[in-house]
Each structure stands twice: as C-alpha cells, then as structure tokens.
C-alpha cells in the first residue's frame, strides 16, 4: 500500500509522517504541493508545520495549492486523507472538514504529551483503536483552538463526527475539548495532536500514534 505525504513550503513533520507510514508497514510516497500528481497513492497524509509561514491564516494558502485541490476531489470519492496539525488546518480551510483552527485561548504555543479519548473507532484512520480508549500523543501548536458556531458544534456532536477529544486538560481552549473531527463518510480525519511523533518507544511518549497509520491499511484492504 502506498501512502502519500504532501510537502508544502514550510512543512516540518513530513519526514516523521513518512517514517510513521513505513513503520506501519506501508510505502511512503513524497508528494509536492505544487504538482497535479497524486502518484496513484491509496491514501494521503497532510503533515504538520507552518505551510506558507501561516500567512493570511494557518493553512489558508496551502488549501488553495494545486495538489490540495486534487486531494479534495479525490476525497469526495473516498480517498482516505489524514490531516495532522497544520494538515488539519489545511483540510478545514479547504472545506473538507468543518470548523476552523484559531489562536490558542492563552496565546502561548503549547507543546506537551496529551491524553486523547478516542470517540470514533470506525473511521479509516482510527479502526485499530477501541471506542473509549485513551491514547497519549504529543500536541504542539499555537493556533490549535478548534472553533465553529454552536449550532454547527451541536450538529457535529449529533452526527458523531468528533473522533478524538482532549482529556486530562485542554491544551488550547478548543470548543468542547475537540481534538479531531472526521468527514461524514469517516474517510477524512483531521486532528491537532501528532500521532506521527508517537510511533517508537525511543522517541515518543507511547506508540499509540502508530494506530492511525495501521488503521488505514485495513481501510484500504476493506475498500
């Protein structure tokens, strides 16, 4: 299975994401934001970082790049897409996921190991977890406060679109402790915490993050 990892100008975690893909047992494929070439990958990861220096709004310029427009079209026909941190911001800006990510309520960059409650264990990227499981992965952001209008939040909750929720403390003031959400079909997932930084005991607080990348292997087999 081939999983594409998109690099934007200002991406930081594309190499870690590719490493996580490899450790999960898939082949990472480097994709460049400026090209209309998805290279026939079976899934796509949008990594963390500061694409375009967070100019205008975090993820705003990257969301209008040629490859992301292709990703949006492919996602509408079921391509599994995972957005991590800046990648989540890009997916929200591109309209693939609801809501928006804004400046942390306390205005500080927050970098720590974070406990998350898995509320959806049936998406393309979370099927290897158990619903209600608590996992620990790093979180590191300055603009990670998830917001949407109250009516939209109610609708998301009603539809079960919250995939992971902060537990044991909210690192950025996100509405309703929301750490990650999914598309209606469960194929697109975005989250602020970094599962790709929790794939080996040597370097991460756990290996819980590997579950996201293992899950999509199963999703591709099932598709």
């Amino acid at each position: 299975m081939r999983i594409g990892v998109i690099t934007f100008p200002g991406s930081l975690d594309d190499v870690d994401a590719a490493r996580a893909v490899r450790l999960a047992g898939a082949e990472p494929v480097s994709l460049w934001h400026g090209e209309h070439d998805l290279k026939d990958v079976d899934a796509v990861v949008l990594p963390g970082g500061f694409s375009y220096g967070d100019y205008l709004r975090a993820g705003a310029i990257a969301a209008r790049s040629p490859l992301v427009r292709d990703v949006v079209a492919a996602a509408r026909t079921g391509l599994p897409v995972l957005g991590i941190c800046n990648g989540f911001q890009v997916l929200c800006e591109a309209g693939l996921l609801p809501g928006a990510l804004t400046r942390n309520s306390h205005l500080h960059f927050r970098n720590r190991d974070q406990a998350l409650l898995v509320e959806r264990a049936d998406t393309a990227w979370t099927s290897s977890f158990a619903q209600g499981q608590t996992i620990v992965v790093p979180v590191k952001n300055g603009e990670g406060r998830y917001v949407a209008a109250d009516a939209d939040l109610d609708r998301l909750e009603g539809e079960g679109r919250v995939v992971v929720r902060y537990t044991g403390g909210n690192p950025n003031g996100s509405s309703r402790d929301i750490a990650g959400v999914t598309s209606a079909d469960g194929r697109v997932v975005g989250l602020m915490p970094h599962p790709e930084h929790a794939v080996e005991d040597l370097t991460g607080p756990s290996t819980d993050g590997l579950g996201f990348f293992v899950s999509v292997l199963q999703a591709a087999v099932a598709a």
């Binding site: 205008l56 209008r64 928006a100 309520s105 205005l107 209008a149 003031g173």
Partner: protein, 133 residues
C-alpha cells in the same frame, strides 16, 4: 503600493533607479519620483489632492465573528488597562487588506476574493469597500 512617477501618469512604467542624497527616489533620467507611499494614502473615498494617477483602491476589512473569542484583542485590552486607558471596554483585532486593481473594479469578483480567500466565513466577517467615485 506601486511607486508612481510622472512618467506613469503618461502611461509609461518606469522603475526607480536610485535614491538621491536627500532620500528622494530617482528615475532613470534622474528626475525625482513622487512616491505616494510617503504622502497621504489614497483610498477610494479619500484621495489626496495632487494625486497623479487615480488608482482604484479596494479595501477589505476582516474581523472575527462576534461569537468567536479573540484572545489577541483581549491581550491588547489588558495592555491598555495597564497603561491607564481604562475607558476602552473592548478590543477586537482584525485584518485590513488594500487591493490595487486594474481598471474598473468588478464587485462580484472582489466579493468572491474577499469571502473565499481573504476571510474564512466559518469564523470571520468581511467588509468590502469599493471606490465610491
């Protein structure tokens, strides 16, 4: 902000060549560039007397929707309080875009630009200010 010089008033494009001893921008032939960036900023509604070329300037203001909290504005408010400006009750921070457009501004196109790129309609409100004259 484009640099305007007398040559441009006649439809030519002339880049500034250098800076004079007194800090004025010079063109290729050594004449002084009258740079509007150093004078009053022209806007659609308030153009300075003596402007060489009327440039259609479109202004777009973007602010967070009232229901979205603005921690940056709150930090500014806190600083104002510490400086003794106790009369300010609230601060909302936003973005201000100035667009020089070619020819007659196309309101529909500019509205699309403002609403789909310059602002994120999920969290922000946008105001488009077109030249009125």
């Amino acid at each position: 902000m484009p640099i305007l010089c007398p040559a441009q008033a006649e439809g030519q494009r002339t880049a500034p060549l250098g800076v004079s001893a007194t800090g004025e921008l010079l063109t290729v032939d050594g004449s002084v560039v009258h740079d509007l960036a150093f004078g009053p900023r022209p806007t659609g509604r308030d153009r300075a007397a003596g402007t060489l070329v009327p440039v259609p300037v479109v202004v777009v203001d973007v602010v967070l929707k009232p229901e979205i909290s603005d921690p940056q504005g709150q930090a500014v408010l806190g600083a104002l309080g510490r400086l003794g400006h106790s009369g300010v009750r609230s601060v909302r921070q936003g973005k201000h875009f100035v667009l020089d457009v070619e020819g007659e501004p196309d309101e529909a196109e500019l509205r699309e630009i403002a609403e789909t790129l310059l602002a994120n309609p999920v969290i922000e409100d946008v105001e488009l200010h077109l030249p009125t004259d």
